[in-house]
């Protein structure tokens, strides 16, 4: 898998479209086990990201994703702002100076992103958070190489699997056992991130 700067820009723009499209569902999921604003916050944050990167021209994918990250950090707030912001900030470090990402380079970015989410959010696999999607996606990339379509499928499966889990971090954790039976909203927004990747990669390839 190879991702050009143009495709990486499309990825950011597609994430925005997905967040707008699924804004209400994200908020409904959050309503069930949190405070109901995840859709609003993600839609607001990625709209700003799209505004920032759409008309800019980047040769350096690292610089582009540094802008994505700083926009999220400065515009979103809540828990999702620092978590997604830190994820893309760490990835941008790994992608610094590159105008093309091969499978290995892309995976390095995702690996750094996961490290960032872990450090910032202090959550672990199985806590019913976005990491329940990001960690399996990373593990699969490390083992088999980056494959956008596989990543999207894994993300979908793992987001679905959060339904049966009991939340251990974030606001949902206050519900204890009552958090069971609902998909984690951060896991679903993460699923959308990898679905967006699969879509833009497929369109580029065809």
């Amino acid at each position: 898998m190879e991702l050009s700067a143009a495709v990486m820009k499309q990825w950011a723009l597609r994430i925005n479209e997905k967040m707008q499209e699924h804004k209400d569902k994200l908020s409904e999921l959050d309503q069930a086990i949190g405070d109901g604003d995840h859709g609003h916050n993600m839609a607001r944050g990625f709209r700003e990201v799209a505004n920032k990167v759409e008309d800019a021209s980047y040769d350096d994918i690292g610089a582009m994703y540094k802008d994505v990250a700083s926009t999220l950090i400065s515009k979103v707030g809540g828990a999702s702002g620092p978590l997604y912001g830190t994820a893309f900030l760490k990835a941008s470090n790994a992608w610094k100076g590159r105008d093309m990402l091969d499978s290995e380079a892309f995976t390095e970015g995702i690996e750094a992103a996961v490290g960032g989410i872990e450090t910032r959010g202090k959550a672990s696999l199985g806590d019913k958070t976005m990491l329940d999607v990001w960690i399996p996606v990373r593990d699969e990339m490390k083992e088999h190489g980056a494959d956008a379509e596989k990543a999207a499928k894994t993300a979908e499966k793992e987001a679905e699997a959060t339904i049966d889990k009991v939340a251990k971090k974030g606001r949902a954790s206050y519900l204890g056992e009552r958090s069971k039976g609902h998909m984690d909203p951060g896991a679903f927004s993460s699923q959308l991130v990898f679905e967006a990747l699969a879509e833009v990669y497929k369109e580029e390839a065809s």
Binding site: D35, G36, D37, N41, I73, G78, Y174, R178
Partner: protein, 322 residues
């Protein structure tokens, strides 16, 4: 959803504009932010106190900006922590060189954003300390407890300490002392609606109440049939006391906090019972607060907060502002 607003996206900016417009002699808005600072900030030679968090908890935190209390408050979107750059703007605006203490409620978003802001401030050579408040005993694991109404007692006591000219380390220790000795627990009778979602955070039947609700309308820990005020008060006070291990004759401060849409009348009914219960246990209530200190939009219900007062906390609280 029925709210007196002009639009979901302007709520916070219009609220802070209104606050500053109403109190121009006391408050100032940092341009292009939702940061409210004391009109005379930075105050030379004084440790600066900053708190903040999502909006919707008014008067927390912007209502606590003033002499003897906070130097700045950072308002995020409704129930959403403010961003690190806004917190950094607040830090830069109030630091006089004596250092800055951040008073943070233990919610993952708040903790992360304030942490990032502290890192950014340190990179600019400003000394920043943080105190994280975890007073909500509805959560059993002390590390996971949320910061709720007890946070405002930190504002008052640490604010009084800073006004006396104490150093950053001293103010931090006093604030931490309050944080370690304050406990709260709430009950809700009806939910609140976050404007951005337009729907209530949870639903309760006519005869139900939710015990242990957080200040964001997040569901509590247990749903029960509605009880009378005395029985509810007894339950809340007992929960709080079970966690405090107070000796006979201990001095405390008591706060009966309305969640946004509870008549003061009902809060006094709760206060009456709470004071009586504490008296029966030989605990001396030295100061009682009844009113709205940390609200949750239009949620109905209240929380009970008890703070164990040592001599210093007692002196600072009784001499300080509220």
């Amino acid at each position: 959803m029925k709210k007196l607003i002009n639009g979901v996206d302007q709520i916070v900016s219009e609220m802070v504009e209104g606050l500053v417009a109403a109190h121009p002699d006391k408050l100032r808005l940092i341009e292009n932010t939702n940061v409210i600072v004391r009109a005379d900030a930075p105050v030379q030679g004084k440790v600066a106190l900053i708190s903040g968090g999502g909006s919707g908890h008014e008067p927390a935190h912007a209502g606590y900006v003033g002499e003897g209390l906070l130097d700045a408050a950072v308002s995020g979107e409704v129930f959403t922590s403010p961003t690190p750059d806004q917190v950094l703007e607040a830090i830069k605006a109030v630091d006089s060189g004596s250092g800055v203490l951040l008073i943070v409620k233990n919610y993952s978003g708040d903790v992360m954003n304030f942490d990032m802001a502290a890192d950014l401030a340190e990179a600019e050579d400003i000394t920043v300390k943080q105190v994280v408040i975890r007073d909500d005993v509805a959560i059993s694991n002390p590390d996971d407890r949320r910061g709720v109404a007890g946070t405002t007692l930190v504002h008052m006591i640490a604010g009084a300490a800073a006004a006396e000219g104490k150093s950053l380390d001293e103010v931090e220790a006093i604030a931490q002392g309050v944080a370690d000795n304050v406990r709260s627990m709430g009950v809700s009778l009806s939910p609140c609606t976050v404007p951005a979602s337009g729907k209530p955070g949870f639903t309760l039947d006519e005869n139900e109440m939710e015990i242990g609700t957080g200040i964001h309308g997040e569901q509590g820990v247990e749903r029960r049939e509605l009880m009378q005020a005395d029985a509810v008060t007894e339950e809340l006070v007992q929960h709080v006391l079970d966690d405090m291990h107070l000796n006979d004759g201990t001095d405390v401060a008591l706060m009966i906090n309305g969640q946004g849409a509870t008549p003061l009348m009902e809060l006094y009914i709760v206060a009456r019972k709470a004071i009586q219960l504490l008296k029966d246990r030989g605990i001396h209530v030295k100061k009682t607060f009844v009113g709205e200190y940390m609200t949750s939009l239009e949620m109905t219900g209240c929380s009970v907060t008890i703070l164990n007062l040592d001599e210093e906390r007692k002196r600072l609280l009784l001499s300080g502002r509220e």
